[in-house]
C-alpha cells in the first residue's frame, strides 16, 4: 500500500515510534543490568565502612556523590544496593510467575468447581492489602528481606494466575482446541502445545510492568523498616536512613529516589513498548 501518512509534528520524535519506546527501555535495562553485575567490583569505597569524621561530606574525588550520615560513600552504596533491590525483584517476579502460570493454566483449562474454589481463595487473599499483609508477616517472622519476599509472593501470584486463567478460558472453547481433542490430544498436551504459547507474550508484558511495581513495594517496605535491615545498602532503606537529614542534606534521599525512579521508568517503558508491539488489536 502506498498511502502517504500525514506527518504529525507535535509529538516529540522519541514517542512517535513505538519501537523506540522499547529501544530506550532496553538500553536503560542493559545499563542497569551491567551496573548491577559488575558494580560491586568497581565501587570506589566499601559500602559498609562508616567513617564518622567524614559524615555528610560533599562530593569529592574519593566520594563521587558525597557521604551519608554515617560517613559511608553514597555512590558505592547505591551501586551495591542495586544488587539487592534488583536481585530480590527478579527473584520475586520469577517465583511469582513460576507459581502463578501453571495454576492459571490448569484451573483455566479444567474449570468447573476447581476454578470456583481457587478463585474464591484468591479473592480472599486479595482482600488483604499487600502492605498490611507484609506488616503482619514481618510481625510474625521478624523483619527481613526473605520475609518481605514471602509476603509479596503470597499476594502477587494471583495476578498471574488471573491473567493466564482468563486467556485460557477464552481460548479453550475455540475450534482449534476442539479439533485437537478430536485428534486425540490429551489435556496435558493441549495445555502445553496450544495454551502455553497464547500466554507467553501477555505474561512477559505483565512481568516487565510488575518489576517496576515490585521495586517500589520492596523499597517502600524497606523504607518502613520491614525489609532490608541496616547497615545493608538497599535503596528504600537508604531513603529511610536519609529521612532525618532531609532539610540539611537532601541528597541522602534524592540519589536513591532518582535511582528508583529511573529503574522503574526503564521497566515501564519496556513493558509498555512490548505491550504495544504484541497487542494484535492495536496494530
Amino acid at each position: 500500500m502506498n498511502i502517504q501518512m500525514p506527518r504529525i509534528n507535535r509529538i516529540p520524535f522519541f514517542f512517535k515510534n513505538q519501537n523506540l519506546l522499547i529501544q530506550w527501555g532496553i538500553i536503560f535495562f542493559l545499563i542497569i543490568t551491567l551496573i548491577t553485575l559488575i558494580g560491586p567490583f568497581i565501587v570506589p569505597n566499601d559500602p559498609l565502612t562508616a567513617n564518622m569524621s567524614e559524615r555528610l561530606a560533599p562530593p569529592s574525588s574519593t566520594y563521587p556523590l558525597g557521604t551519608d550520615h554515617m560517613g559511608r560513600c553514597i555512590f558505592s552504596r547505591l551501586i551495591v544496593g542495586a544488587q539487592s533491590t534488583l536481585g530480590i525483584t527478579a527473584l520475586v517476579v520469577a517465583t511469582v510467575a513460576i507459581i502463578g502460570i501453571p495454576i492459571g493454566l490448569v484451573i483455566g483449562y479444567i474449570g468447573g468447581r476447581l476454578d470456583t474454589v481457587f478463585m474464591r481463595v484468591a479473592d480472599g487473599i486479595l482482600a488483604l492489602p499487600e502492605f498490611i499483609l507484609a506488616i503482619a508477616i514481618a510481625g510474625f517472622l521478624g523483619p527481613s528481606l526473605t520475609n518481605l519476599m514471602i509476603s509479596i509472593v503470597f499476594v502477587k501470584w494471583i495476578a498471574y494466575t488471573r491473567v493466564v486463567r482468563s486467556i485460557v478460558i477464552t481460548e479453550r472453547n475455540k475450534d482449534y482446541v476442539q479439533a485437537a481433542k478430536v485428534g486425540g490430544s490429551s489435556s496435558w498436551k493441549i495445555i502445553r502445545r496450544h495454551m502455553f504459547p497464547q500466554i507467553v507474550s501477555p505474561v512477559l508484558v505483565l512481568a516487565t510492568l510488575d518489576i517496576g511495581k515490585v521495586i517500589l513495594t520492596i523499597s517502600s517496605l524497606s523504607y518502613l523498616g520491614l525489609g532490608a535491615q541496616p547497615p545493608a545498602p538497599e535503596w528504600g532503606a537508604m531513603l529511610n536512613d536519609g529521612r532525618p537529614y532531609f532539610q540539611s542534606a537532601p541528597e541522602l534521599m534524592i540519589y536513591p529516589g532518582l535511582a528508583i525512579f529511573f529503574v522503574v521508568l526503564a521497566f515501564n517503558l519496556m513493558g509498555e513498548g512490548l505491550r504495544d508491539k504484541w497487542d494484535v488489536k492495536s496494530r
Binding site: Y176, V182, G183, S185, R193
Partner: protein, 257 residues
C-alpha cells in the same frame, strides 16, 4: 457404522435437539440441512463426543460413544474426525500449519494410514504428503495460519481431518465461510477424498446446493426436530415436507438474484 438413537439436548431450558435418530453406513455421505439455530452443529458435536446428549445414545463402531472414557474414547476418536466451519478458528494461530496437520498422527503412533506407509517415521514428510493430498504446495508448510487464505486454511483443516484415515468425517459447514469460487474447489476436494478413502461423511450445512452435490441422503432439521429425511434424488419430489420445499424455493430465489 454410526447409529444415533433418538438423542435430545437442551440449552438453557430450550430444546436444541429433540428425538433425533440417524444412521450412517460405511462410505455413505449424509447431509444435515437446517437454518442457523436448528441444532445441526450441536448434533455434530454430540456425534464427535464433545458434548453429551441428555437422552438417547450414539453408537459408533459398536460401542456407546458417551460411556467411553480415557483410552477407549481416544481409540474410537481415531476413526472419527472433523472439519470445522471457520478455518481461521480451527487452526492454532501460534503454531506452524504443518504441526497442526500432523498433531493427530503424533497422538496415535500405532496408526499407519495407507497413504502414509512410506513416510510414517517422519513428521514433516507426512505433512508434505497430506498437503499434496489436499492440493497444497509444500511451500506452505512453514507458514502460520494468518499468512494463508481461507481456502488454503480449510484445505489444511481437511488434511488434518483425513490424516488418521478415519471412517467418518464430520464436516460442520465446511464451506460457508469461504468465497463462492473457493467453495466449489473445497467441495470437489472433499468429494474426491471421500471416494478415494472410502470415507463416510456427515455433511452439516445450510446450503442445499452443496448438500445435494455431496450427499446421497439428506436429513432436514428445524428447531431441533428432524422434519424430513429422504434420498437426494427425491429432493424435488411432491412428497417433501413443506419446510424442505420452502428451503429449496429460498435457495432457488437466491440463485436467480
Amino acid at each position: 457404522m454410526l447409529h444415533v438413537n433418538s438423542i435430545s439436548k437442551t440449552y438453557h431450558s430450550k430444546a436444541a435437539l429433540s428425538d433425533i435418530s440417524l444412521t450412517v453406513q460405511p462410505g455413505e455421505s449424509i447431509g444435515v440441512i437446517g437454518e442457523s439455530g436448528s441444532g445441526k452443529s450441536t448434533l455434530g458435536k454430540i456425534i464427535l463426543g464433545l458434548e453429551k446428549p441428555e437422552q438417547g445414545d450414539v453408537h459408533f463402531r459398536g460401542s456407546n460413544l458417551h460411556t467411553l472414557k480415557g483410552q477407549a474414547l481416544k481409540a474410537s476418536r481415531r476413526h472419527l474426525q472433523i472439519v470445522f466451519q471457520d478455518p481461521a478458528g480451527s487452526l492454532n494461530p501460534k503454531l506452524l500449519v504443518w504441526k497442526s496437520v500432523v498433531e493427530p498422527l503424533e497422538n496415535f503412533p500405532d496408526v499407519i494410514p495407507s497413504f502414509l506407509k512410506e513416510v510414517r517415521h517422519d513428521r514433516k514428510k507426512m505433512a508434505e504428503v497430506l498437503f499434496q493430498k489436499v492440493g497444497l504446495s509444500s511451500e506452505l508448510l512453514e507458514r502460520y495460519p494468518h499468512q494463508l487464505s481461507g481456502g488454503q486454511k480449510q484445505r489444511i483443516a481437511v488434511a488434518r481431518g483425513i490424516s488418521l484415515e478415519p471412517d467418518l468425517l464430520v464436516c460442520d459447514e465446511p464451506t460457508s465461510s469461504l468465497d463462492v469460487s473457493v467453495q466449489a474447489q473445497v467441495l470437489n476436494l472433499l468429494k474426491k477424498l471421500q471416494r478415494d478413502l472410502n470415507l463416510s461423511l456427515l455433511f452439516i450445512s445450510h446450503d442445499i446446493a452443496a448438500v445435494q452435490f455431496m450427499c446421497e441422503r439428506i436429513v432436514v432439521l428445524k428447531e431441533g426436530l428432524a422434519v424430513d429425511s429422504f434420498l437426494t434424488e427425491d429432493l424435488f419430489s411432491e412428497s417433501r415436507h413443506p419446510y424442505t420445499r420452502l428451503l429449496v424455493e429460498m435457495s432457488m430465489e437466491q440463485e436467480y438474484k
